[in-house]
Subunit: 226 residues, 2 copies
């Protein structure tokens, strides 16, 4: 990797690993089989982020919308998320799982990671994993907090009260699978994100995809709305 | 236009007309001159939307972040917004201006259009114009509403309380000027939007840009997160 030196590295990368089901179908499998093939790419990406000095990585696990899919698919992506965290426990990351824990769709194995970050190994990178997440849930936590008597102090804003308030602003969003949309991914943190889309499906992840995204990011000027 | 028949037309198109200042510089003018050249493209786009049967069009005027720019630029884009509405008054649109009206940066000439839609002529299309808008302001209106004693009824959500609650979900976002980011444009309504970016700067608008965006939109499957 030493030949890929980037001058400007995003602090926080968000990833939408889309296309597992399409990949499974194209490879003659039933749709739900695709999720299993999404775990290894996630760990390769995690390694590349550490190599590049990226400080925070957020991955879309599954959304509350996704849980309306057929049960066999739902169980497959729930299991893939639990398996991924099990593997991450042997690595070096500060993990936070963010999503609606008060729904039966949330895998109970992941509850220990939802209150505050849990350090694995040397904690080389913050990893946020969106599990049973929804943008409505995320924003609505701010309303609930106010309803429950929390006061928004001067100089603070709604960002401090949302469900994902422990997740920082995303600098670079990378989406696999060709779709050019956010699909509800952290609407507050992705306000100023530069958005890079790859046609390749997520299980077909290659290093060059992410390197291309980082190379492209070099050329973006950052104005934060100014 | 009759030869461009699209099978699937977005109900609501959002537009980020970026690149006025870069265009001015490339054409040997000072930056603030660029905004004047952004009005005519807006009206051509408005006409194309009506021709295609698009029901709602939202345009980024300027943001609260933008007002931190040099005064000569700020005054130029404020004037361009007021002039644009003056011209629209002779057309056929239901206009709503959305933004923070409680700031001195909001052009007072546009206050009459901020409470509810104002019909011009035959009102052939809803036009939303974001003026002195910010995503923080937009979301924070929900917090303010709750603080002021409004109750969020069962089955309703934060979307009903935000500052832009009269603006519907955006199906297709089109951005001129090459940047692949939302820059705070309606974070709630753009959750599921398909996002099309043109390299051309906004004052260089051509019909083919928007037709390409509509042609591309044909091929996107709409899942709304499902």
């Amino acid at each position: 990797m030493s030949k890929y030196i980037f001058q400007r590295i995003p602090t926080h990368v968000g990833v939408i690993p889309d296309g597992n089901r399409r990949w499974a179908e194209r490879n003659g499998m039933s749709k739900e089989k695709g999720y299993d093939y999404g775990i290894a790419p996630g760990f390769r990406l995690y390694e590349m982020c550490i190599e590049q000095g990226i400080q925070e990585l957020t991955l879309y696990g599954f959304t509350q919308d996704n849980t309306k899919r057929p049960v066999i698919q739902r169980k497959a992506f729930q299991k893939a998320c639990v398996d991924a965290v099990g593997t991450l426990a042997n690595r070096d990351a500060d993990l936070l799982v963010v999503g609606n824990t008060k729904s039966p769709m949330f895998p109970k194995e992941l509850l220990p990671y939802t209150k505050e970050r849990v350090r694995f190994g040397k904690g080389l990178i913050k990893v946020n994993f969106l599990v049973n997440y929804s943008w409505q849930w995320d924003l609505h936590q701010a309303i609930s907090a106010i309803n429950n008597g929390q006061v928004l102090k001067t100089g603070r804003n709604i960002t401090d009260l949302i469900g994902s308030s422990q997740i920082s602003r995303v600098d670079l969003m990378v989406r696999w699978g060709g779709r050019r949309r956010l699909s509800g991914f952290l609407p507050v943190q992705s306000i100023y994100s530069d958005f890079y889309v790859l046609e390749a499906l997520w299980p077909d992840f290659k290093d060059v995809h992410f390197l291309d995204a980082l190379r492209w990011y070099q050329k973006q000027d950052i104005t934060l709305g100014g």
